[in-house]
C-alpha cells in the first residue's frame, strides 16, 4: 500500500514538474469549493503561460468581485483584485500605461456580464490588447446561488425559487456582435483544449474574449459536470476562423461548441492604431 501511494505521488510530482505550471502558481491555496471548475481553468492558464515562457513579473492579472475575483491571489504575477464589474477598465488602463505587460481581466458571469457588462462592447471595439477570461458558472456563487445573466430561463435559483424569468445572455454572440477580434470558448473539464485556446488568445494582438464554461458544484444542481461533458462539441476543423458570419452561425447553433470561433489578425490593436494615425 505504502509502495503504491509513494509511486503515485512520485509520478504526479514528475508530471507537475514537467508541466511547469507551478511556476505560475502562488503559495496561496485556492478558497474555491472542492470540485469547482476554476481549479482546471487556473491550471490551464498557468500551463499556457509556461508554454509561452512569459516572465511572471510582466503578467498583470486583474479581477473584479465574485468567486473568480480571488483568482489573482493564486497566481504568481502582479495582481489587482478590484471592484465588482470593473476589472476591464482597470486592465485597460494598465495595458495603455505599459504595453510590455501581458494583461488578463478575469471575472465571472455576474462580474463581466451583469454589473460590468457595460464595459464589454467598448473594450472590444477599441481592441485594447488584453485577454478577458470569463469564468461562466451561470450562477452567483459567492453570494450563494442567485440567478445571473447566464442562468438558463426557468432554472430555479435562490433568488427565483419558481424559476428564473430572464433569458440568458449569449456571451459568444455578444462578443462577436461587439466586434471582438478574438472570440473563443473553453470548457473547464477540457484542460488541453483550454491551454490551446489560451495560448492563441494571449498571443493575439488585440482584445481576446475567452468564454469558459464551468459548473458551480455547490449551487447549481442542474448544469453539472456530467451534463456539461455531454453537452459540448469541439468546433469542426473546417471552420474558417476569419469568417465572422460563420462564427455567428456557430454561436447561435442549438449545440454548444468549444474552440476558437473567430480571429481577426489583420486589425491593429488600439495602441498600434494610435501609432499609425499619429505618425502619419
Amino acid at each position: 500500500m505504502d509502495h503504491i501511494e509513494r509511486f503515485y505521488i512520485d509520478e504526479k510530482l514528475a508530471d507537475i514538474k514537467k508541466d511547469g505550471f507551478l511556476n505560475y502558481r502562488s503559495k496561496e491555496l485556492p478558497t474555491w469549493c472542492p470540485g469547482c471548475g476554476y481549479f482546471g481553468i487556473t491550471q490551464a492558464i498557468a500551463k499556457a503561460c509556461n508554454a509561452l515562457s512569459l516572465p511572471n513579473e510582466n503578467i498583470c492579472v486583474v479581477s473584479g468581485i465574485g468567486c473568480a475575483g480571488r483568482y489573482p491571489i493564486f497566481m504568481k504575477a502582479y495582481g489587482f483584485h478590484t471592484l465588482h464589474g470593473r476589472s476591464v477598465p482597470i486592465a485597460s488602463g494598465i495595458k495603455l500605461a505599459n504595453e510590455d505587460l501581458t494583461v488578463f481581466a478575469v471575472g465571472g458571469d455576474g462580474d463581466m456580464l451583469g454589473i460590468g457588462g457595460g464595459h464589454l462592447p467598448h473594450i472590444a471595439r477599441k481592441n485594447i490588447d488584453i485577454t478577458l477570461f470569463l469564468f461562466d458558472n451561470m450562477i452567483y456563487g459567492l453570494t450563494k446561488g442567485q440567478s445571473s445573466a447566464t442562468t438558463p430561463l426557468g432554472q430555479k435559483t435562490n433568488s427565483h425559487t419558481k424559476g428564473n424569468p430572464d433569458s440568458p445572455l449569449k456571451p459568444i454572440s455578444l462578443a462577436l456582435a461587439y466586434d471582438a477580434s478574438f472570440v473563443a470558448r473553453g470548457f473547464a473539464g477540457d484542460l488541453d483544449g483550454m491551454q490551446d485556446i489560451f495560448m492563441k488568445a494571449i498571443r493575439h494582438k488585440g482584445f481576446s474574449f475567452v468564454h469558459l464554461i464551468t459548473p458551480c458544484v455547490t449551487f447549481d444542481k442542474v448544469n453539472t459536470w456530467d451534463v456539461m461533458r455531454n453537452g459540448y462539441h469541439p468546433i469542426h476543423e473546417s471552420h474558417d476562423v476569419t469568417d465572422r458570419i460563420a462564427a455567428m452561425r456557430l454561436a447561435e447553433d442549438q449545440r454548444f461548441f468549444l474552440g476558437v470561433f473567430y480571429q481577426d489578425e489583420k486589425r491593429p490593436s488600439y495602441q498600434e492604431y494610435l501609432r499609425q494615425i499619429h505618425s502619419a
Binding site: E28, P55, N56, E57, N58, C60, V62, P72, I73, K76, A77, Y78, G79, F80, H81, T82, L83, R86, V88, P89, I90, A91, S92, G93, I94, K95, L96, A97, N98, D100, L101, G118, H119, P121, H122, K126, Q271, L274, H278
Partner: protein
Amino acid sequence: MADIDIVIEICGSAGEGTISAGEILSRHMSSLGFEIMSFDSYPSEIRGFGKCVAHSRISNQQILSPGKYTDILVVLNDSHSIPQLHAVRENGVVIYDSQPPAYHEEDKSIAGWMAPGMIAYGIPLHSLANKAAGSARGRNMVALGAMAALFGIDEEGFKTSIMKRYATKKQVVIDSNVNSFEEGYVWAKKNVQKLDHLTFSKVKLRKVTQNRIIINGNQAVAQAALDSGIKLFAGYPITPATKIMEIMGKELPKRGGIMLQTEDELSAIGNVIGAGFAGKRAMTATSGPGFTLMTEMTGLAVMAEVPAVVVNSQRGGPSTGLPTKTEQSDLSLVLAGGSGDSPRIVLAPSTVEECYESTCLAFYLAEKYQTLAVLLLDFFLSNSIRNIDEPSLPDKKMLSANISPSKTDLKDYRRFQLTESGISPRALPGTPLGMFVATGLEHNERGKPAYDSKTHLEMTEKRYRKLDGILKEVSPPTWDGPKANVDIGVISWGSTAASAHEAVLKARKVGVNAAFMSSMLLVPLNVDHFVKFSAACKTILVPELNYSGQFAAHLAQYLNRPIEKLNRITGLPMPSEDIFEKIMEIADTQKR
C-alpha cells in the same frame, strides 16, 4: 496718469460673434499690458437663439474677481441685453444698434429700458457692417471699432489683434472683419460726441517683464498635467470639464501619451487607476454628476494605495442641475464621497495661476503618497480667462515621486509595509521580485485579505498617517491682514476665495479691520492655522457658492464657534462687491 478698472459686457445672440468679440478685446488689452479677467456665459443649447454674454474686467491693477457692475454694455441684441442693464452703473455707457434691421416692439428696445443717468451711444452697427463687408455678420467688429474710437484704444494695434484671431481663415474673412472694425472706428470718431470720461489712453501700465500667457482654468490644468508628465488621460465628455479632454486629445499623442475617451465615468477613473497601478501618471476630469459615478472607485484608489488624479469642475446641482452655471456645491461630495474611512487629497485652486500650481501638486502628491487627489474647480474658474505670467515648470523632485522598494525590501517584499510615514515602497509591474496583489479588500502588509480588527486598525491608521506628510509638503494657508485683534476674519475657498480676498483688501482700504484666510489644500486641512486665525478674529465670515454653507459646516467642527455665512446660488461667480457689502454690514453691527 490715471488708474483704470472697468467692466465691459458684450451681449448678443449665440452665433452673432459675441464671444469672439470679447475674446479679441481681452487679448488685445492684455497685449497692451492691462490685467484682464474674462468670463463668458452662454446657454447650454448649441446654437439656437440663446443669449451670450462676454464679460471682461480690464484694469491696470491686480484683479481677483470678475466685477459685478458693468461700465460699458455693448448691445448686439436688444431683448437679450435688457436684463443685463440692471448691472450697468448709474452713469454707465450703453452702445447699441441705432439702425436695427427689424422693427423692435415697443418694450423690446434697449433704449426704452435705460436709466436716465446712463450714457447711450447709438451706432448703426448693422448698416455699417453691410457697408464694410456686404453682410451684417461684422456687427461685432463694428462695435469693437466704435469702442476703440470712444475709449482711446489704438486702432492699428487692434486691427493686428483681429488679424491674428482670424489668421487661419480665408483672406476674405480677415478683410471683412478688419474693414467692419475700421468702419465702426471712423464712424464713431466722426459722429459721436463723447459724454463719458472712460479712457484707456492715459493709463499708466506696469512694465511687462515676463512672457504673459492668456489661459483659462481648464487650459491651466491641462498644461500643468502635460508639464507633469501625464501619460494617460481618460474621460467622458461633461460640461464644464470637456475642454480638458479636448486639449489632451490634441497634445498628449505628440508626447507619446494617450487620450482615451471612455464609455462612462466608471471606466474613466478605472483606466486612471489601472495606469497608476502600472506606474504611469494619469488623470480624468469631470463634473459633479460624473464624480458621483466615480465615487465607486475613490475608495479603491485609497485602499489599494494607487495614485489617481481626478478633476471635478463643479456646476449647479443636484443631479444634472445647471450644466452651464457655476456653483461650489460638490464640496461635501468630494470631501467624503465613497464608502468607509477614505483619506484623500483635495485641492481647490482659487485662481487660474493656482489651477496650474495645484495640478502639479496633485500629480506629485498622488504619486508619492499613493492615493487619490481631487482637484476642485468650478464652471467659472474653468472658463475664466486670465493673462498670467508664464508659470514655472514643476521641478525634478515633483516629476518623479514614486518611492521604490530597495534591494533589501525586495528580499522579503511587503507591499503594504507599516511605516512611520504611512508610505510603503511601491514596486511597479515588471519588477522581478516585487510581485504582489493589490486589493480593495482590507489586507495585511503583504496584500493578503485580512479582516481581523488589529489589521484593520493598523492599516487605517497607516493610510491616515500619510495626511501628516502631505500637510508638510504644501505651503500653509494664506493669511492676509493683522495677526491679532481682527474685527472681521473672512475665510473662503476655491474661486470665491479670490473674490473674498479682493473684498477684504477693499475693506481695509476704507478702514475696516479685516483679515483674510484661504487654503488651496482642503484635505488635509491645516487646522492649526485656521484655529489661530479664528482666535484672532471677533467675527468669522465664510462666503461660498452653495445654499447650505458646506465649507462653513466643515470648518465649524474645528473652530467650535458661530460662523457668519454668505451664500449665493445665482449661477454666477461670487461678486467681491457682495462680500464687501457683507463685511461693511458686519462692521456696522459691531460698532453698535
